[in-house]
C-alpha cells in the first residue's frame, strides 16, 4: 500500500515539475462541491477473480489557491459483506493543466462500518470501522461553474470485528475471544461532477 502511495506521489510530482504553463489570471478563493460515484475493484479471494463493489462520495470544500483545495467528504462504500461510511478530509493539488486539470488528491478519514452477516448471532459481537486512506489522480474537465471529473485511485480501508463468548467446560468457565482485523485494498474508479 505504502509503495503505491509513494508511486502515485512520485508520478504526480514529476508531472508537476514538467508543467510550466501556469494560469496567470487573478484567483479568488471560493466554495466547491463534488459528487463522485464509481466502482471499487479488488478481491477478498483472488482465486475467484476480482469483485466490483460500489463507492460514492459527496465532498464540499474550499479552493484556497489556484492549485490547492481542501474539503470535507462523506461517502458510502461497499466491500461485499462490509459496508462503510467514511467521513474524510480531502486535500487536492493541481499537478498539470489549466482549463482541464490533473489533480493529485488524498482522501483520508475514519469510516464507520457494518458487517451484514447478522444471522451469525455471535455473543458480544462488535463491528468497528477504521482508517481510510484513498490517494487518487483526478482528471477535471473545465474550471467554470460545472466540471466533470474522472478519478482513479487506490483505497486502503481497515475494519474489525470482535466477539467473546464464555461457556462451561469440565474445569469451569472458559472464554474465547476473537478479534479480526480486515484490510481492504481496492482500485477505485470514479466519475462525477463538481460545482462552485
Amino acid at each position: 500500500m505504502r509503495l503505491i502511495v509513494f508511486l502515485l506521489i512520485g508520478c504526480s510530482i514529476q508531472s508537476a515539475y514538467s508543467q510550466h504553463t501556469l494560469d496567470s489570471t487573478k484567483f479568488k478563493m471560493h466554495y466547491f462541491g463534488t459528487l463522485l460515484s464509481g466502482v471499487q475493484i479488488g478481491c477478498s479471494n483472488c482465486t475467484t477473480g476480482n469483485q466490483l463493489t460500489a463507492s460514492a462520495y459527496l465532498i464540499n470544500g474550499v479552493q484556497l489557491t489556484k492549485g490547492f483545495s481542501i474539503g470535507i467528504g462523506i461517502g458510502a462504500d461497499s466491500y461485499q459483506e462490509w459496508k462503510t461510511m467514511p467521513l474524510f478530509l480531502q486535500l487536492s493539488q493541481k499537478i498539470a493543466g489549466t482549463k482541464n486539470r490533473l489533480l493529485l488528491q488524498l482522501n483520508t478519514g475514519y469510516s464507520w462500518a457494518w458487517y451484514d452477516r447478522q444471522e451469525y448471532t455471535l455473543p458480544n459481537f462488535k463491528q468497528n470501522g477504521g482508517l481510510m486512506i484513498h490517494p487518487a489522480l483526478t482528471y477535471q474537465l473545465g474550471i467554470e461553474k460545472w466540471t466533470m471529473q474522472f478519478s482513479v485511485g487506490y483505497k486502503n480501508q481497515v475494519t474489525s470485528t470482535s466477539s467473546r463468548f464464555e461457556y462451561q467446560s469440565w474445569g469451569g468457565i472458559v472464554y474465547n475471544e476473537t478479534n479480526v482485523k480486515n484490510e481492504f485494498n481496492r482500485l477505485v474508479l470514479q466519475i462525477g461532477f463538481g460545482w462552485r
Binding site: 479488488g42 455471535l122 485494498n185
Partner: protein, 429 residues
C-alpha cells in the same frame, strides 16, 4: 507534447496500480482459555485409597445413612464417616480417601463407592480398620471420566488446569466469521456443558441397606446394586456382599440423572422426564413407561401410588421451570400428572409417611403435609429460610439435609413442631 507526456505518465501509474493487485489482508487475534487435563496414573489412584483422621467437610455431595452412621461424600475426594448415634451431636470419626468418588451405597457392612472408573467394595465392619474387599476395575466407561478416554501411559484425568493462549493469524483475503464463533484449539479439550457432577445417593431396602437421597446415581434393590453411568445403568450382583459381580449394562436415556427404587421398580429422573423400569429380571431392568415433561433437572421420590418430582432450571439444567409435580403411578404403564405446585428452585426432596421435604435451593427447606396431595401447598408445616439447600433424607423421624454451608438435622416426630437438632458446619477454606 507536454500534455501528452502527462497523460502517458498518468496511464502508466494506473497500469502499475493494477499490476500490484488489490487483494485484501486480514489478521485474526484469537485469545482463549481452556482447561488442560491433569492425569494421575491408575496405580497412583488405586494406591491412595485409605482411612485417614477426621477432616472438616468442604464440599458435601451425597449423603447416605446406615444404622447410626452417616456417610457424607466429599465431592471427588472420598467419604466422611460420621457417628450419628445422637443426631443432636454428630461426630466425624474419620475420612475414607477415595479419589474420584461421587456416589455411594451401603448394604450390610459393605460400602460400595466409585473411584473414577472403578467400583470399590469396602468392608466397614470395623470403622477403624476399613478394608477393600473387591475392586471392579474399569466398570465405569463414561461417568466421572470427564468425557475423555484413559491414556494408557498418563492414566486418568483427575483435575483440570486453566490455561490461556493467544493465536495470531495473518493472511491474504478476507476473514470470514464462522457462525460458531471461530474458536480453534490446538490442544486441550472443552465442552459446552458440564454434566451434573454433584449428584446424589438413594434409598434402598432399609432392613439391610442404607438410605440415600433423592439425587442418587447409586441404589440397592434386593441383591443388586444399580449404578448410573452417563445414560446407562449397570446392574451388579451383590448376593455375596463383599464380592460384587458386574452383570449387565443397558442404555436408559442420555439425559438420565437420578435413580430411586420403589416396590421392586426403578424410577429414573431425567432432564426430559421420568422413566419407570421393572425388575422382573433384576439383572436387566426393563422399561415399563416414560413420563415426559419440559427439559429441566428432576429428582424423583415415590411413596404409595404417587411420585413426587421437582423440576428446576439452572446452568446445567436448562429450561425455565421450577415446580413440584405430583404424578399418579398406580398404573405404572400410564403415569398421570395430578398437580403442579410452583417452587423457587427445587433440588432434592424426600418423603416419609406423607411428610414431604423439599430442598428449594436458596429458598430453604420446605416441609409439607402431603396427606392431601392436591392441596400440598396449603399444608405447609415448616419453612426454614436463609439456607441454600441441596438434598434431604427423612428417615425414622429425623430429616438429614445437606446445604451449601452444612448438614442440618431435624426432628419431625411431631410434624407440627419440627425442631432443628444439629448443624454440622462446612469449612469455607
Amino acid at each position: 507534447m507536454k500534455k501528452l507526456t502527462s497523460i502517458t505518465r498518468f496511464l502508466f501509474c494506473i497500469l502499475l496500480l493494477i499490476s500490484f493487485g488489490c487483494e485484501d489482508n486480514y489478521e485474526i487475534v484469537q485469545k482463549y482459555s481452556y482447561f488442560e487435563p491433569v492425569y494421575t496414573t491408575t496405580a497412583e489412584i488405586r494406591a491412595s485409597v485409605g482411612l485417614t483422621p477426621p477432616q472438616t467437610i468442604r464440599e458435601a455431595g451425597k449423603i447416605y445413612i446406615k444404622d447410626n452412621w452417616l456417610f457424607v461424600n466429599e465431592v471427588g475426594k472420598g467419604i466422611h464417616i460420621i457417628d450419628n448415634t445422637n443426631p443432636a451431636n454428630p461426630i466425624i470419626q474419620g475420612f475414607l480417601t477415595i479419589p474420584g468418588n461421587y456416589d455411594l451405597a451401603v448394604k450390610g457392612n459393605i460400602l460400595y463407592a466409585d473411584s473414577y472408573i472403578d467400583l470399590l467394595a469396602i468392608d466397614i465392619t470395623d470403622k477403624a480398620n476399613i478394608k477393600i474387599t473387591k475392586r471392579l476395575e474399569g466398570i465405569f466407561s463414561v461417568y466421572n471420566r470427564m468425557g475423555s478416554s484413559i491414556d494408557p501411559v498418563k492414566g486418568i484425568i483427575t483435575s483440570w488446569e486453566q490455561k490461556e493462549n493467544v493465536m495470531v493469524t495473518t493472511s491474504k483475503g478476507q476473514a470470514k466469521i464462522q457462525p460458531w464463533g471461530g474458536f480453534w484449539f490446538d490442544r486441550g479439550v472443552a465442552f459446552a456443558q458440564l454434566s451434573s457432577v454433584k449428584t446424589a445417593a438413594t434409598p434402598g431396602n432399609p432392613s439391610t441397606s442404607g438410605i440415600g437421597g433423592s439425587m442418587a446415581r447409586f441404589t440397592i434393590e434386593g441383591d443388586y446394586l444399580y449404578m448410573l453411568d452417563a445414560g446407562s445403568i449397570h446392574s451388579v450382583s451383590i448376593g455375596a456382599l463383599n464380592n460384587p459381580v458386574a452383570k449387565t449394562k443397558s442404555m436408559i436415556a442420555w439425559d438420565i440423572e437420578t435413580i430411586f427404587p420403589h416396590n421392586g421398580n426403578l424410577f429414573f429422573g431425567a432432564q426430559s422426564g421420568m422413566y419407570i423400569y421393572g425388575l422382573a429380571d433384576p439383572e436387566k431392568p426393563n422399561r415399563i413407561s416414560q413420563y415426559t415433561h419440559v427439559r429441566s433437572c428432576d429428582p424423583v421420590v415415590v411413596e404409595g401410588d404417587l411420585a413426587y418430582v421437582t423440576l428446576r432450571s439452572g446452568t446445567n439444567c436448562q429450561g425455565f421451570t421450577n415446580q413440584l409435580e405430583v404424578i399418579n403411578i398406580k398404573d405404572l404403564t400410564n403415569p398421570v400428572l395430578l398437580k403442579i405446585y410452583p417452587m423457587t428452585n427445587p433440588h432434592g426432596l424426600g418423603i416419609d409417611n406423607k411428610n414431604l421435604f423439599v430442598c428449594d435451593g436458596d429458598d430453604g427447606l420446605k416441609v409439607y403435609d402431603a396427606t392431601d396431595h392436591l392441596k400440598i401447598s396449603d399444608n405447609q408445616l415448616a419453612h426454614y429460610k436463609n439456607i441454600n439447600t441441596y438434598d434431604v433424607i427423612p428417615y425414622q423421624n429425623v430429616a438429614i439435609m445437606t446445604g451449601k454451608d452444612g448438614i442440618y438435622q431435624y426432628d419431625y416426630s411431631n410434624p407440627k413442631d419440627i425442631r432443628q437438632l444439629s448443624r454440622l458446619t462446612f469449612s469455607k477454606e
